[in-house]
Amino acid sequence: MATYFAELKNDFILNFIDEGRWRWLWEGLGNTLIITFVALLMGLAIGIVIAAVRSTFDKNRESMEMHKGFGYYVLKLSNAICHLYLTVIRGTPVVVQLLIMYFIVFATSRDSLMVAMIAFGINSGAYVAEILRGGIMSIDNGQFEAGRSLGFNYIQTMIYIIIPQVFKNVLPVLCNEFIVLLKETSVAGYVGIVDLTKAGDLIRGRTFSAFMPLIAVALIYLIMVVILTALVGVLERRLRKNER
């Protein structure tokens, strides 16, 4: 057992201490976090806009079809565009989207970090949009009707009555999406970014030991997800306070 620990210690020194290899991990962690954070904000922004368009169209379709005004056609067109976006983004793997962004869409850009943020943000937006739409559609129609009969218009009903309930309902699913996003950024290495996973790969490629770098990378991801889950848990509890 003692030799096992001695070996473990040597392995640790070789993989992380020698030549300052831990700095790969540090740098990779920073890149993973910044990509995830920016993509998360972007995804939320895109998701909110698209969910608003799609659910507004779904909710008001029947009443608007009766007298087809200009607004109906605008909404119908935006709904179709959103639908196309969702189909394409959810129908293709994120690695492929990332490579398309990197080599084709932003062919002349050298800032691969920015390209990755945009690619992951656009990807995440599609999932967030559907989560939010699901949340909006799940609220009982009676809530809408109650709002309208109190004299609120559609937008006021949404803001004061529906959205607060939606937010509480979708929080666990959103948290899930953020965890997925954080872990999905591990493919950023495909476009030459040193993210956490790639950092582990680079150490592995230089020390030829698989155990230490892989376990270290796995542990760091795990810790990040545990912290994220705990934060969302706190938020959930706070939001539930007024339920009784």
């Binding site: 030459g192 040193v194 680079l202 592995r204 030829f208």
Partner: protein
């Protein structure tokens, strides 16, 4: 919590003990990264190339069946070092670092690191890329805007990373951010070449794959003349201490060299007239 943590580590250790096990039939499992023409690449579903054919010939000599596993280049090295694969053949250069963790056979081919640039690039020679010290070793980049593309974990990566990042790891940009991605590491050499001109200014890669890439892409060329970055020997690697297999491989290699099989295989993929194949 402490108990849970202890349990977790015990499980980890148990897992790591299992890592060494594996079936041993009459198979010779070779790991490679089949994106390195003409040494190994895919034709349809089949992995062909110099390494694949030499391995086949060796397996025949040893009376074993060859099984080729196509994995990432880094995984070839790690896998062999851990004994997951019997041997690794992926245009693997013998380096001092690698010798510490695995054993190498006799050399069967020579590779040279060359530089691919876009036609009309301002990079005309190695001196346009690197600063050299008195010993002629590269110690940094001449122009901080230059980006070097490589395949991750290859010698091209390690040489240029050493040159650039051993000295420049903590260098700061003017805005205070840490200088990092001056060496852009791709999963395959082909991706590095795809980024040439737009994403990176030059690609450092082995000579023969470089020729294949240049032949298939217009508007790029290999820097000629005294611009060989490093001359290196390709060899087969096996797990450290697996001398039994190593001796068998060496014996087979010697026989194949003597009867001209190896020359024949290499000539088939790399025509002697120097024309890119």
């Amino acid at each position: 919590m402490k108990k849970l943590l202890a349990l977790f580590f015990v499980l980890l250790m148990a897992l790591s003990l299992f890592a060494g096990c594996g079936g041993n039939k009459n198979e010779l499992v070779m790991a490679t990264n089949a994106a390195f023409p003409p040494y190994e690449y895919k034709e349809g579903n089949k992995i062909v190339g110099i390494d694949a054919e030499i391995a086949e010939a060796i397996a025949k000599k040893l009376g074993m069946t060859l099984v080729i596993e196509d994995v990432e280049f880094g995984a070839v090295l790690t896998g062999v070092a851990q004994g997951k694969y019997d041997m690794g053949m992926a245009g693997i250069t013998v380096t001092e670092d690698r010798k510490k963790t695995m054993d190498f056979s006799n050399t069967y081919a020579t590779g040279i690191q060359v530089i691919i640039v876009k036609d009309g690039s301002s990079i005309k020679s190695l001196d346009d890329i690197f600063e050299f010290n008195a010993d002629g070793d590269p110690v940094g980049l001449k122009n901080p805007d230059i980006k070097v593309g490589v395949q991750e974990n290859t010698t091209g990566d390690i040489y240029s990373s050493d040159a650039i990042e051993k000295w420049g790891f903590n260098d700061l940009n003017e805005d205070g951010s840490i200088k990092t991605d001056r060496v852009v590491r791709y999963k395959t050499g082909a991706e590095a070449v795809a980024g040439l001109g737009t994403k990176v200014d030059c690609v450092i890669i082995d000579n023969e794959p470089a020729k294949s890439f240049v032949a298939k892409n217009q508007g790029i060329h290999i820097l000629e003349g005294e611009n060989e970055y490093a001359v290196e020997d390709y060899a087969i690697c096996v797990q450290k201490g697996n001398t039994e297999l190593l001796e068998k491989i060496n014996k087979a290699l010697d026989e194949l060299k003597a009867d001209g099989t190896i020359d024949k295989i290499i000539n088939k993929y790399i025509p002697k007239d120097g024309g890119a194949s």
